[in-house]
């Protein structure tokens, strides 16, 4: 049924029921699917990462700049689905899936997933899970970046000098905020414009 102006744009005129109290099936499946979709993207991204690894070996902190991509699923899920636990669920599922598919990081990936889920979840919780704006997204991404940084410093780089560590922090958090914060927010806005988010009850309060 076509209309001169897609009536998705006139949504604000329509009276909306508030979201039902519990997680709906569609929200669960969409959150998990966001994780799966990024699993696909990461597989393609990993190929590129492996290629650039050689060039960056001399200055590993700079690799932190590309890091932000891995932090997107949790933040994006929180922005799109807007339920308590969405960020945590998405990040954890993404990590478990990558481990099941044979990621060399196995259980370590799951630990990262949990941290990358808890960090944004805390930020969204502090905001009361209300309509997250750009600032919330950036803060959530920064928190996720800091959490991952902590894990990286413990696991890979415990012997680095303080100055290396600060450089890594700067690049990682910048990448996180830009890619996983601003990027996720832009993605969410673009998704809303396509109309696919209409099926998600908690996402409708615009």
């Amino acid at each position: 049924m076509s209309s001169p102006v897609p009536d998705v744009e006139r949504a604000s005129a329509a009276p909306e029921a508030s979201a039902p109290p519990g997680w709906q099936t569609v929200e669960i499946v969409v959150t998990a699917t966001i994780a799966v979709a990024f699993g696909v993207v990461f597989w393609a991204w990993n190929l590129m990462w492996a290629a650039t690894g050689g060039a960056f070996a001399a200055l590993p902190p700079v690799q932190g700049l590309l890091y932000g991509v891995w932090l997107v699923p949790g933040v994006l899920a929180g922005l799109v689905v807007r339920r308590p636990g969405a960020a945590f669920f998405a990040a954890t599922v993404a990590a478990v899936i990558s481990a099941l598919l044979g990621s060399q990081w196995g259980l370590v990936a799951v630990v990262y997933g949990v941290v990358q889920g808890v960090a944004p979840e805390l930020v969204f919780a502090l905001r009361g899970y209300r309509r997250p704006g750009l600032l919330t997204a950036m803060l959530a991404a920064a928190a996720t970046g800091l959490g991952s940084l902590g894990l990286d410093l413990v696991l890979y780089y415990p012997t680095w000098s303080t100055s290396w560590k600060w450089l890594y922090l700067a690049t990682l958090v910048t990448s996180a905020v830009l890619v996983a914060g601003v990027g996720s927010w832009l993605l969410r806005r673009a998704l809303a414009a396509t109309g696919v988010l209409a099926a998600l009850p908690a996402s409708r309060q615009e």
Binding site: M1, S2, S3, A14, E16, A17, A19, T194, G195, R204
Partner: protein, 482 residues
Amino acid sequence: MTPAAVDIRGFGYRPPTRTAWALRDVDLAVTPGEHMLLLGASGSGKSTLLRAMAGLLDAGGETAGEVQVDGLPAAAARDRVGLLMQDPDAFLVLSRAGEDVAFGPQNRGLPPDQVEERVASALRAVGFPYPAARPVAALSGGERQRLALAGVLALAPGLLLLDEPTSMLDPDGAALVRRSIGEAVRATGSTLVVVEHRVSDWLPLVDRVVVLTPDGVAADGDPDSVARHPAARDTWLGGPPRLPARPRAASQPGTPLLTATSVTYRHPGGTVDAVSEVTCVSSASSVLAVTGPNGSGKSTLAHLLGGLVAPTSGAVTASPTLVAGTLADTRPHRWRARDLAGRIGSVFQNPEHAFLTGSVREELAVGPRAVHPHRTDLSGTVDRLLDQLRLAHLADANPFTLSGGEQRRLSVAAALATAPQLLLLDEPTFGQDPTTWRELVSLALDLRDAGAGLVVVTHDLGYRDAVADATLQLDQGRVVAP
């Protein structure tokens, strides 16, 4: 299991975030054990009505009137209803056949021995050809749909709702699923409501036809009388639309444009060839149809011919007519994208895969801008295409918000925007109304008469008969005919 009755009175539904009602004033009563075919143009609300009967409508929307199954509101009677949809891959959950069929009964909390019995009888009812431990990934599309049907039958529903159950299957697969449904319904006596496009194949299984429009039920009765009703014109009830007589433009095909010589393609890491030693020619002013069952390699062949993928062995070569310029290589897969788009256009099975921008107008401008980066007067081309494919009123809309038919027209228009001489279409008539279908036939023939070469991958034998000058039949990657 007793067959269920459905009673719909004054039903209307407005989906959340939309201001227009999907359906209004629907009055319909289905008696227990009745078999009903539900028809209507695209967007007439058929899927919405089925979901309403299944009690699965999004509660965030607005509802008017009532839908009752066996005297209860549909949402309360959900365990009396089984719903099967067109895509088995958006239905199956577990990795082994028997486990997946058990999913529904387990969710209902049935004890394990009853679950086992239901699974066994459901698999038998659909004639599932493998043992229950068979991995789902090893099944063909038709077998997966039959497995999905078993999953629905295992719920022992009094009301069986089918939303285009065979539309994604090839004709043979569709026939098998249809037969399974017919047998199952005869054995259990459950009430049946089917929405489908291939109407003629379903008429033997139903005793009643209903035509639905967004403003309510337009026609209701036995197939013959409904076929005479004006509302049936938007549906496939009267068979394929009559096409205006067209003089055959040329008795001989024009110069060859693209030749595939013994092309073979195997996916990286794959164990079998998707396409094996296929030879064919696409010529100007002619339409080549590629047919074959699902999985026979038709789409892969289209990708090879479209210069999108390099063959594992063999060659796809463009003739000088197609090259038309200073390209050194005659193999399309070696061309730069912008050289390719100006010569060969590809329209994909899922139009959404090709959308690159946020507005229809922008979408049409992408191709021309890529092919001629220095031209600034693209609006003429874009406007002409908007008019030609009836998209002018949607020029500023986000492509993803368009209806299925509109999206398909847009993807065709976008491919035509770069004026390619060779056009490849993958299942262009999938799920289309008679009106759009007729348009697609005219479009193909117009392009052919204007000198283009077309390659059409299709299951739609009616479309093939209407447009094709030659047919290539594939099976398991090989040419079977001619």
